[in-house]
Amino acid sequence: MTTAESSTDQRLLASMLRIRMVEQTIADRYSEQEMRCPVHLSIGQEAPAAAMSLVAEPADYAVSTHRGHAHYLAKGGDLSRMIAEIYGKVGGCSRGRGGSMHLADPSVGFMGTSAIVGNSIPVGVGLGMALQIKAQPNVSFVFLGDGATEEGVFYESANFAALRKLPVIFMCENNQYSVYSNLEERQPASRRIVEVARALGVPALEVDGNDARASHVTVANVVAQTRAGAGPALIEFETHRLREHCGPNWDDELGYRKPGELASWLKRDPIKALLDSGTFDPEWIESTTADIRTEIDAAFRFAKNSPYPDPAELAEDVYA
């Protein structure tokens, strides 16, 4: 293994570990009843976000969905302000108005997440249109799930991105489920999301979304082409959320997954997969993990110590 490869592996692993440990801590502390909003965890789906984190520049844009913690962090969003937002505190990244489902950090180009399936897709395309009109050499990442590809707005947005050759990367995390409904119940078996995108004029690639290296190579190549003017692209990451749709727990007892499905995905845990296939210095892992733990503890302290917004602020910012 060359030094450069080792460095890339380390960066991917560190990014995924940070996201995992943050969300694990949210899950562990959720029962304290201080995080009073729905949380949709990305545990098991960290690789696409980590792949983007190695490629995105601060001036690139990104938007995401209700399951947006990983994307916010990977784009450079401030951890303390994210945790404070989930706690509904004034120090939160949306000053307590949005919670877990509405994260933003415009200082790093993270332009928002939405609780409505498919809602942020055209917003990300519009950001890409602005980049093109202003002749800025950046791209707009649009995170979406497989469920969102069933919304009309996905077709409309992809069509327009193709029509105007906009610098937009659709990052489709296909975790097979829209809440508890499997893809099999929602789309014909023969249909591939990548083929739908291609039919709309958006070049598309499939990649194992639990293989962080493969995800990174794919994102890096696609982004390089888009930066060079190739127009939009869609990357479909085959992946899986290991925890429940909404909340901190496991939910396999509900029986909506096929028997053995969760177990097979647990074996393909993206962090475990990278650890197993790479060579990592145990001391580096230990110090990296310790640094992340220190950062997380500080973030939760910040969140808990930040006051709630003053009720007098309620009516602020209805209008700009």
């Binding site: 509405h102 939405s114 055209p122 202003k134 707005v153 327009f160």
Partner: protein, 357 residues
């Protein structure tokens, strides 16, 4: 001798065109987007010539994708552009409610004031000439109900120009509702690109007996009625709201306080209308100042049918307004029909309106 600014006459449509052109010339971030924006017709003439002046990256036709295009405009606005979107009918825009309500109206507030959405959405509304159930809806009350949106309803060419400039300059999403029957009216319009102030009503007629609150096209019908009423010795305030959200409550309250009598006109269906809000606020805050119960004239709670046979009496017109006002004053309605002759056929603003849409 060259025309002075004050003498120059423009149609309402030309005033919109001029406002857009001046805004685009002054600010390179202003865009003009919409199905038909570059058509030969140019959205009833309102977007004519813009693509030739500003090019296809700033002025463009688009896919028939109202929801995505609204979200795309929101994204462009977040990135510092000022899109002006057009829709040839309000009804088409109903496909875009997710992006209007969940994105445009929310992005500023729900992210703690970190973003601005300076987006102007022009919606053509209308009635009559067989527009029918899905080409005639006046849903301004829906939009005014959503916190975070502004709703503008011009009634004259000068207001069309100055309120559109204000809408484009405003850092918030603004719905700009143009009544189809106004596009061809002509009046004096200053050349200067001077924006009006959103949220300010205009007193179009002044009188002590009765307050008539109107907006958009109904302001014209109200003025016709009030000019007749003055011959009957009844002097009315006609308050043209110009903006439905924010609404100029001080102007409404002041006029109601002065006259003690209120008649509110509304081009939307009665139930849940802006007129209901106005009557409710005046009644609850100024009850003791009123000399008679407030009244409303609005559309019936019925989809607008197409047939000329079904449309008789469907729309609020000057004759109905004058009759209502005389009834409030306890006066005879005897010669109203004689002096305020309803247009014939009843489905057009006048015989100059020839369709087809």
């Amino acid at each position: 001798m060259p025309e002075s600014n004050d003498d120059r006459v423009l149609t309402f449509a030309a005033a919109i065109n001029e406002a857009t052109e001046q805004a685009m010339a002054a600010d390179p971030t202003v865009l003009c987007i919409g199905l038909g924006a570059t058509d030969p017709g140019g959205v009833f003439g309102t977007t004519k010539g813009l693509v030739e002046k500003f090019g296809s990256s700033r002025v463009f036709d688009g896919p028939t994708s109202e929801n995505a295009m609204t979200g795309i405009a929101v994204g462009a606005a977040l990135a510092g552009l000022k899109p002006v979107m057009t829709h040839q009918r309000l009804d088409f825009f109903l496909l875009a409610m997710d992006q209007l309500i969940n994105s445009a109206a929310k992005w500023h507030y729900m992210f703690g004031g970190q973003f601005q959405v300076p987006l102007t959405i022009r919606l053509v509304i209308g009635r009559g000439w067989g527009q029918g159930p899905t080409h005639s809806q006046n849903l301004q009350a829906w939009f005014a109900h959503i916190p975070g949106l502004k709703v503008v309803v011009p009634s004259s060419p000068v207001d069309a120009k100055q309120l559109l400039l204000a809408s484009i300059h405003d850092p918030n999403p603004v719905l700009f509702l143009e009544h189809r029957w106004l596009h061809n009216i002509a009046d004096h319009v200053p050349v200067e690109a001077t924006p009006a102030q959103l949220g300010k009503a205009r007193l179009a007629r002044i009188g002590d007996d009765l307050t008539i609150v109107a907006s958009g096209y109904l302001t014209l019908e109200a003025i016709r009625a009030v000019d007749y009423l003055s011959t009957r010795g009844v002097a009315c305030d006609v308050l043209d709201l110009r903006t439905l959200h924010p609404l100029d409550w001080p102007a409404v309250h002041a006029s109601a306080s002065k006259t003690g009598r209120l008649l509110v006109l509304d081009s939307g269906a009665l139930t849940g209308s802006i007129s209901g809000e106005i009557v409710a606020r005046v009644a609850s805050e100024q009850f003791s100042e009123l000399r008679s119960p407030p009244r409303r004239l609005a559309q019936p709670d019925i989809p607008e049918p197409t047939s000329l046979g079904l449309i008789q009496g469907f729309h609020v017109r000057s004759q109905q307004i004058a009759s209502e006002a005389l009834d409030i004053m306890g006066l005879s309605l005897a010669d109203v029909a004689e002096h305020l002759v309803a247009p014939e056929p009843a489905d057009a603003p006048g015989d100059w309106f020839r369709g087809p849409f």
